[in-house]
Amino acid sequence: MDHYLDGASIEDAVTLFRRRLCDSSSLDLLLPNASENYSKLRYLLSNTVTNTCNNSVLLLGPRGCGKSMVLERVMKELQHQHSDMISIVRLNGLLHSDDRCALKEIAKQLCLEHHLTFSKTASFDENSQFMIAMLRECALAHKAVIFVLDEFDLFAQGKQRVLYNLLDTMQSVLSQAAVVGISCRLDADQLLEKRVRSRFSHRKLLFSPPSTEDLQRLLEQALILPTDSTFPHVEYAARFNARLTDIIENKSFKDILSNVVNVDLSVRRLLDFLFRAVCDLDRDSGLLSLRNFRTAVSSIQRQPKLETLRDASVLELYLLVSMKRLESKDCDSYNFNAIMKEYMDLHNAHPTCDLYSRQICLRAFEHLLERQLIAFIDKRGQNIALEFRPVKLLVASHELNEGLKTSPVCPGP
């Protein structure tokens, strides 16, 4: 063990990483146009709070690029700034896309916010009247109401009553409200009906997905140890950072990173990946290695089918392969008998010692059904014998190839 290393410094570093990676608030604004959108949105909403400008704005962008994060931050700041002057109503398109339900939820949240009694039995009309009256009273008391509609595109179904009602009340003098829609559909505003669109104030904030460079910058920001006074172990930090830059420059690391990013671009995913890597940190040397990242990737991207294939017996693999062969022969529907025939053909062509009797094959077939590597095509014919029911393969061909390669029992070519 080197002289600069002690348990404390590694422990400190790991704590620091964990804190950074779990509370991502310091990292989020590194996303592309997050800070720009943040200031725009804050300008819009604070205008609503202070100058009674009724605005409606859409935050558009693919998932995981910081839309909600920016909104939450703006809200937090505004609430801090003007405490007690803002009430927030949150709706989600997945939960409240139904008009009645949405209005009920609005009424409920407004009641909660202002400590009023809420009745579950109120009808749609009553709730909408209540909402209008409430908005008016809030405006008279200089209080702003901010409606946050998550999954905005789902509200744009059917008659769009909720949106119409909300946006129509924003037109009246006696209201002080803003509608913020969040959607991952870039054309969300085109989904609106024409009279709703006419009332919408067409503010759009675009969030672009982070590029690989952005993510790399973010990664560096997350993992580089500070060399100033905040982190006491300077020598260790310097060494750690040097090692990290080495890793980042490495070609295979870039492959790993792109492997992670290709699946999911979101920051959350990346941070999860880093967290796993940091958890694997070698406590002796105290340095990250490429192996850490590799294990992190494999633990993130688990492939259950491959693992099941690894456990399969030779006979089961034979059966799967014969099904695969049947499929490649454009045979759409097959049952155990067909598979059995194919298996026998296979054996006739390449005779090996792995020839089993029909009974044993049937057992193996049942086992495959149990493990859900294959399944019946339909639910019909419950009372037909097992051998005659048509089945289908649930393993893709490339997965089967992978599985055969990695399987310990598979006979070599």
Binding site: N54, A107, V173, L174, R199
Partner: protein, 865 residues
């Protein structure tokens, strides 16, 4: 005593208020001790105590006990230093001082109406300058004398109106006067009694009292019982420097409200300053204004007294005569900022009052004279007179919360319909009781200025567990919402032209008039007037209005209705009902029956019942009550939403007008031009007779709309407005879109100006381009272009563009805004954006083609017709 009083009151804001309450209780109890029949309180505990006080005969000890009790129960109020209210010596003092209260009252009034003091908030100096200056005080004095004489003569005459029991002796009069300020909180019982008798002797709309006319809705000073009598009241404000009255124009300090002669100031002012003005004392920040006052005089004007809480102000809500013969009024109190729980806030104006939700019945005797409480806009205009106050907020005394008073012109609509309805009802069926219980009726009456939710009674019900989002005639229980503190930003005015432009361009900002829709307004007015004039013979009057969104359909109809309402008020046309229903705000089409029936009768029933009743009502040949013969105008917005499978709702709506005596006039609004044709023929034949098309706005019209909104604000370049209107007219002709575009452009321009000023400050030499001509505060073409790009371009193109721009930006390490625009142009030119360049061109050509074809078609149609 007055000095001491103010000294006591100002530091302890809530104190005076509780004092007020208590004085109400104790003395009202004394007055109506045995009379108070049952403790039906506006607020439970209060009356109970009151009742006790009555029993004990208002003894001092009992009072103190009660005070202690009060303090326990309402810990928000600090315990007040009790004044010996019923002490004989104070009575004597009062007696001495107010030897001739009635003549004095007239005198006060005369003096204040005539004397034009000065004005600080004076916006137009020419108004005051010439005529009033040195002379104005002389005639006032003479008039005082005269009026004083007159009133002494008139005394018997006014006594015919004043209750007889004030006459006999000075002492009894004095007692009456003491009683008058007493808030009768007990009065629920009383009120109901009054209400019952109201049918016999109605509330008056005006009462001439002591030769002064008081109307319902007037604001008055109300004497306070514990304050010293009004004999020490100054007629007129005197100059703070020379201590003389009259002699030239005076200017008011905005801080201490002291008056100063223009000529007494050093250096003398020539004119009354336009904006805020501080007197030399306040400017030097000499805090001890009390000292200055003491130096002056002992007399105080009514305004000073009010602001020192020696007087109260109230708005008369109702005037009536008691069976005993005394005239009484129900007043809604105003309070000064010191009396609120939060005390005076720094941004409260000196002349600011708050309207409370606190009502009391008092005798007319307690009224001192008129004062004038105005809304912010009127207050701004009203620059002279000492008795003018500003009231912008309502203060809820139960929740200690402020709420803005709704703007008059907005509130008017609903109130007036209520009022006129009431009038109509009362004049038509005086004998009939159309309300189930009397309390409800009572609540309706005094609260005209506000929604019914704010009477103490409804407050009580809100304290119970009833939910707020269920509808029982009105939504009650919302008075809790209100700021504990008025934010100071509400006071600050909009500074720059751009700010004001943004404010007027908002969709929520109500335009004063609707330009470019005169023809349609005329047509709708003609239709409605014709239908109303036809009276019971009007059969099948339906109007179908169609047009694309944002062309002012609903706004136009509402404007017409507003105008007609004014005509009804002027008794030009007969009253009618107006019911507005929006198809998209109904949960299901059938609910329309429910809403309509409720609007017509005030009862809530299920839609099936409502349909049945409505069918009955409209098909009946003989009307049951006279009330029903009011014609009803039904406006249905978003008519296409009411189409059901068998279209029965629409059929019913358009069938009722064709029945005899139904007196129903239907105006339907929808977007599609051919809605009647899509419907069943039997509906189409009923509704499609009269149609009105709101075409999309042309660019000239849009230009006019925008410039009428921006009237007097120098914020937009002329070409920019034209550019917006042409752009929008080419796409949709939607006024909302044009306004939003302009607003966004204004925001962008503001941002640009900010950036420029910052960059100019930091490095003026670096950016020589923006330093010169482009630093204008006007919204230009570039801003509009950017706004259009931002708001109406497809997001994926924008996203692509942003990414490219960013890369370019990073590559060149450009930092400032100006090169960014350069790179914008470069990208547009260099990159493969030829497609997007051509695209608008093609679309434009196609549009031009369409336009041309349209024009030709229109001409052909016209010729054909």
């Amino acid at each position: 005593m007055a000095e001491r009083d103010s000294a006591v009151h100002t530091p302890l804001p809530p104190l005076s208020y509780s004092n007020k309450q208590k004085s109400h209780k104790s003395s009202s109890a004394r007055k109506s001790g045995p009379l108070t029949p049952e403790p039906l309180p506006s607020r439970g505990q209060v009356t109970k105590r009151l009742f006790f006080a009555g029993e004990e005969g208002g003894g001092k000890e009992g009072e103190k006990e009660k005070a202690a009790e009060d303090d326990l129960k309402t810990p928000l109020y600090e315990s007040p230093p009790k004044k010996p209210k019923s002490h004989p010596s104070t009575d004597n003092e009062n007696e001495e001082k107010s030897s001739g209260p009635k003549s004095k009252r007239v005198l006060d009034f005369a003096s204040t109406t005539k004397s034009v003091r000065r004005s600080s908030r004076l916006q137009k100096p020419d108004e005051v300058e010439a005529p009033t200056s040195p002379l104005h005080n002389e005639p006032v004095k003479s008039s005082i004398r005269i009026s004083a004489k007159k009133t002494t003569k008139k005394q018997p005459k006014s006594a015919t109106i004043t209750p007889a029991r004030h006459k006999p002796s000075k002492k009894s009069h004095q007692r009456a006067r003491r009683l008058k300020c007493v808030a009768q909180k007990t009065e629920h019982a009383d009120r109901i009694k009054n209400k019952v008798t109201k049918k016999a002797c109605k509330g008056f709309s005006k009462v001439v009292f002591d030769g002064v006319e008081f109307r319902v809705g007037d604001c008055v000073y109300v004497r306070r019982q514990d304050s010293s009598s009004d004999s020490d009241e100054a007629d007129c404000e005197e100059c703070q420097i020379c201590s003389k009255v009259g002699k030239g124009i005076m200017v008011e300090c905005d801080e201490c409200l002291g008056g100063f002669h223009l000529s007494c100031l050093k250096p003398p002012l020539k004119q009354v300053p336009q904006d805020k003005w501080l007197c030399p004392y306040c400017e030097r920040n000499e805090g001890n204004t009390i000292q200055r006052r003491r130096r002056r005089k002992t007399k105080k004007t009514a305004r000073e007294k009010l602001l020192n809480s020696q007087l109260w102000a109230a708005r008369i809500d109702r005037l009536w005569k008691e069976p005993g013969g005394s005239y009484r009024f129900t007043g809604r109190w105003f309070i000064i900022p010191e009396e609120t729980t939060i005390g005076r806030q720094p941004h409260n104006l000196k002349r600011e009052l708050f309207q409370t939700n606190h009502f009391d019945d008092n005798e007319m005797e307690s009224i001192l004279r008129h004062c004038y409480v105005k809304g912010p806009k009127e207050f701004e205009k009203c620059t002279e007179g000492d008795d003018v106050f500003l009231c912008e907020y309502e203060y809820d005394i139960n929740w200690h919360a402020f709420k803005r008073l709704a703007d008059a012109d907005v509130d008017e609509e609903s109130n007036r319909s209520l009022d006129s309805e009431n009038d109509w009802n009362s004049s038509e069926d005086s004998g009939e009781d159309d309300f189930e219980d009397e309390e409800e009726d009572f609540q309706e009456k005094p609260v005209k200025a506000k929604s019914t939710a704010k009477t103490p009674c409804s407050q009580k019900s809100s304290l119970s567990v009833k939910a707020v989002n269920t509808y029982r005639g009105c939504i009650i229980g919302l008075e809790k919402i209100g700021t504990k503190k008025i934010p100071d930003r509400a006071r600050c005015r909009r500074q720059t032209d751009l700010d004001r432009a943004k404010a007027t361009l908002m969709l929520a900002a109500s335009p004063g008039s609707l330009p470019c829709r005169n023809k349609e307004i005329d047509e709708i007015t003609g239709f409605v007037m014709g239908a109303l004039a036809a009276g019971s013979q009007c059969l099948g009057r339906c109007l179908y209005i169609h047009g694309v969104p944002g062309t002012g359909k609903t706004a136009t109809v509402l404007t017409v209705m507003k105008k007609l309402r004014a005509k009804v008020d002027a008794k030009v046309i007969q009253p009618y009902r107006f019911v507005e229903i929006n198809g998209l705000k109904l949960a299901q089409p059938e609910n329309l029956y429910k809403v309509l029936y409720e609007a017509l009768t005030g009862h809530r029933v299920s839609w099936k019942k409502a349909l049945q009743f409505l069918n009955q009502r409209f098909s009946e040949t003989k009307q049951t009550s006279k009330n029903d013969c009011q014609p009803c105008i039904l406006l249905i917005d978003e008519l296409d939403l009411l189409v059901t499978r068998n279209q029965s709702v629409l059929y019913n709506i358009f069938d009722w007008p064709t029945r005899a005596h139904s007196q129903l006039i239907v105006i339907g609004i929808a977007n599609t031009m051919d809605l009647p044709e899509k419907l069943l023929p039997r509906i189409a034949s009923r509704m499609g007779m009269q149609r009105l098309c709101f075409g999309p706005y042309s660019y000239q019209q849009l230009q006019e709309i925008i410039s009428s909104r921006l009237n007097g604000i120098e914020a937009f370049e002329k070409q920019a407005v034209e550019f917006v209107s042409r752009k929008v007219a080419a796409v949709s002709g939607d006024a909302r879109r044009a306004l939003e575009l302009c607003r966004r452009a204004a925001e962008l321009a503001e941002f640009r100006v900010q950036q420029c000023s910052i960059s100019l400050k930091t490095a003026s030499n670096e950016l020589n381009v923006s330093g010169g001509g482009t630093l204008k505060n006007l919204v230009g073409m570039a801003d509009i272009e950017a706004a259009i790009h931002e708001m109406f371009q497809a997001p994926h193109i924008q996203q692509w563009f942003m990414r490219t721009l960013k890369q370019e930006h990073q590559r060149q390490h450009l930092k400032s805004l100006q090169p960014l625009f350069h790179s914008y142009a470069q990208i547009m030119e260099s990159n493969a954006l030829i497609g997007t360049h051509f695209f608008p061109l093609v679309v434009g050509l196609v549009l031009v083609g369409f336009y041309f074809v349209n024009q030709v078609l229109a001409i052909v149609c016209r010729n054909y017709n």
